[in-house]
């Protein structure tokens, strides 16, 4: 009765080759451009500007060292790091309690709150940098790491709330109740029972917040002038900088992200699966 039985073995084999070929092609599609960046970054300045380009890197640290010595770059790198770390800490610190509240309690205004969170995902958030720039000038926060971190946290917090919501929902309330009967207050039960169990997941979402901040361009460009982050620096110098500098900068932008995504890959899908609802 099944129609699939009618496929001949040859067609099956062809289908299988096609499948594997497609997978390989798509992997190459992702990896080759990255590799080319890699080549450029690890070549001397002359090689980068030369033509034709070789497909192999020279493993010359010329571009990178030039990059490191370029004025303002190291500061920009430091700023990116500071802002991203602040974002990471803030978004988890205020997002996780909300995620817990959403997963454990029914309360009036819950639906409105969820709507607020969802709305922030639907809104082009970098645009907020514009009015915030004025606000920051008035409050002395403009061109500071903290100011930019506030904006980045606004970007990251919806993810933090929804991800921690799904994490907490995965811990049965019974475990907390058991802890309550065994001598724990709400807080102790949380720290001794819930926290150890979700630590990997919360770390993953913290790293996710870090990457969001690290990669963000528009708000960083708008809100930082003297204390530029790496993305702002590269953007503002797109037209003027030498091309090998751009590639070295791109490489530095990409590398931490590569490492982080590798570290949290297990949790990406768990996070998104339940954050959908």
């Amino acid at each position: 009765m099944s129609q699939t039985d009618q496929v001949s073995p040859n067609a099956r084999k062809a289908g299988r080759y096609l499948y594997i070929a497609t997978v390989v092609f798509l992997c190459a599609w992702v990896l080759v451009p990255l590799y080319l960046l890699f080549v450029n970054a690890l070549s001397s300045a002359e090689a980068v500007n030369s033509f034709p380009k070789s497909a192999l890197p020279e493993f010359d640290l010329g571009s990178l060292s030039f990059f490191a010595k370029f004025q303002g770059i190291l500061d920009a790198l430091k700023n990116s790091l500071i802002v991203a770390t602040m974002t990471m800490v803030m978004s988890i610190a205020i997002g996780a309690p909300a995620g817990y509240a959403l997963s454990r309690f029914e309360f009036r205004g819950k639906a409105t709150f969820r709507l607020l969170i969802l709305m922030t995902r639907a809104f082009p958030l970098p645009l907020l940098a514009l009015p915030l720039a004025i606000m920051f000038i008035r409050t002395g926060l403009d061109d500071t790491a903290l100011g930019l971190a506030f904006v980045h946290t606004t970007l990251a917090v919806p993810f933090a709330v929804l991800i921690t919501f799904s994490l907490f929902s995965g811990i049965p309330l019974e475990l907390e109740e058991a802890a309550w009967t065994l001598g724990c207050t709400r807080l102790t039960a949380f720290t001794k029972v819930v926290l150890p169990l979700i630590l990997p997941g919360i770390t993953a979402s913290a790293i996710f917040a870090f990457v969001i901040s690290w990669n963000e361009v528009f708000a960083a460009a708008v809100l930082t002038i003297e204390n530029r982050t790496l993305t702002a620096f590269l953007l503002q110098n797109l037209d003027t900088t030498a091309i090998h500098l751009k590639f070295a900068g791109g490489f530095i932008l990409v590398l931490p992200a590569l490492i982080f995504i590798f570290a949290v890959r297990k949790y990406l899908f768990a996070m998104w699966g339940i954050a959908n609802r």
Partner: protein, 347 residues
């Protein structure tokens, strides 16, 4: 000494009333079972005593302390949950000793109590394992050991055996009864399984739709159900019921037969008899056999009397076939009567 007093407790969830005016006293070291179907309020009541829910009104006392406004940890209770709630990130040893560590007891005392209770529950060889490596039955023992290690005034258990397979349930039931008797703790146990209730309880509180219908020792609940519901809930197969009309002078007509009953002026009553209190005999209720189930230990016969379904548990050697007619004589001392309106037992 741990006597529990529940005074006029009510619980509303929004507009739904889960518990209606519960009054119950549980004596020291008594094993009280709350028995009922899902939704009857038994778990809600247990959780109110544990402190995991707050009563809408009423008081809960343990000895001379009023506890209904206290946090669970301050009530002197320990609880065993239906899904065991064994902490996955701790070893069995750390699980059992969790409450003791919360009380900041010295290491040697924690070690001694953990090992003692682990031995009691026959899991002393599992102390270094994590819950992921344990079977359901083993996890359940950890949960019980953890509660017992607290040496509480009161131990509360929420259907702890219902997730185990039948054979394990049988073994654990016997073990639990022994362990709890020895520990001299007052116990409250929630279940929907009436065999468990009958086996474990000093007293059973049969609950239905938020009320306690009857609180009495197992045999009384079985032999003298306070309401029709109790009779039909307890016992497998449950009680049989037939309508009865008065003949006068304390005699009642049931399916063409006459039986002595209450000398009241009810216009109708429900006649009730348990399936095992019937014997085939020359005279009695005329029944048409519908289904015969030879169950090994006895034969379960489903028949129709006056069109009503009727069950009898007969000797295992009984030979009957569907379609036959038999006459069943009830054991007169075991006949019970219920008011059809109020459902209450009438004497």
């Amino acid at each position: 000494m741990a006597e529990i007093q529940i005074k006029n407790v009510e619980k509303w969830f929004g507009s739904y009333q889960a518990l209606k005016s519960i009054d119950l006293t549980i004596s020291d070291q008594e094993f009280m079972v709350l028995l009922g179907a899902s939704g009857c309020g038994k778990t809600t009541l247990l959780r109110i005593i544990a402190g995991l829910e707050t009563a809408s009104q009423g008081e809960v006392w343990i000895n001379d302390r009023r506890i209904d406004h206290l946090a669970p940890k301050d009530r002197g209770i320990a609880m065993v949950f239906q899904n065991y709630a064994v902490f996955p990130h701790l070893t069995v040893f750390e699980n059992i000793g969790f409450g003791l560590r919360m009380q900041r007891r010295p290491n040697h005392e924690v070690k001694a109590r953990v090992e003692r209770n682990a031995e009691l529950m026959h899991i002393e060889q599992l102390l270094g394992r994590y819950s992921g490596e344990l079977s359901g039955g083993q996890r359940q023992r950890v949960a019980v050991a953890r509660a017992l290690a607290m040496e509480p005034d009161v131990i509360l258990m929420d259907e702890p055996l219902s997730n185990l397979d039948a054979l394990l349930r049988l073994e654990m039931r016997a073990e639990l009864k022994g362990v709890l008797a020895e520990s001299k703790t007052t116990a409250m146990y929630v279940t929907h399984d009436q065999v468990e209730a009958m086996s474990l309880a000093d007293r059973i509180s049969v609950m239905h739709q938020g009320r306690i219908i009857q609180a009495a020792d197992p045999l009384s609940v079985y032999r003298d159900p306070a309401e029709r519901f109790v009779g039909s809930f307890i016992g497998n197969p449950p009680m049989n019921f037939l309508p009865a009309t008065p003949e006068g002078g304390g005699k009642w007509r049931v399916a063409g037969q006459s039986y002595a009953g209450p000398k009241t002026d009810h216009t109708a009553l429900d006649f009730a008899i348990r399936p095992e209190d019937l014997q085939p005999s020359a005279a009695g209720l005329a029944a048409v056999v519908k289904v015969v189930e030879p169950l090994g230990a006895h034969v379960l016969v489903t028949c129709a009397i006056d069109g009503q379904m009727f069950r009898a548990v007969l000797d295992s050697d009984t030979k009957l076939a569907a379609g036959e007619t038999i006459t069943l004589q009830p054991n007169a001392g075991r006949i019970r009567w219920f008011d059809p309106q109020s459902q209450v037992l009438v004497r």
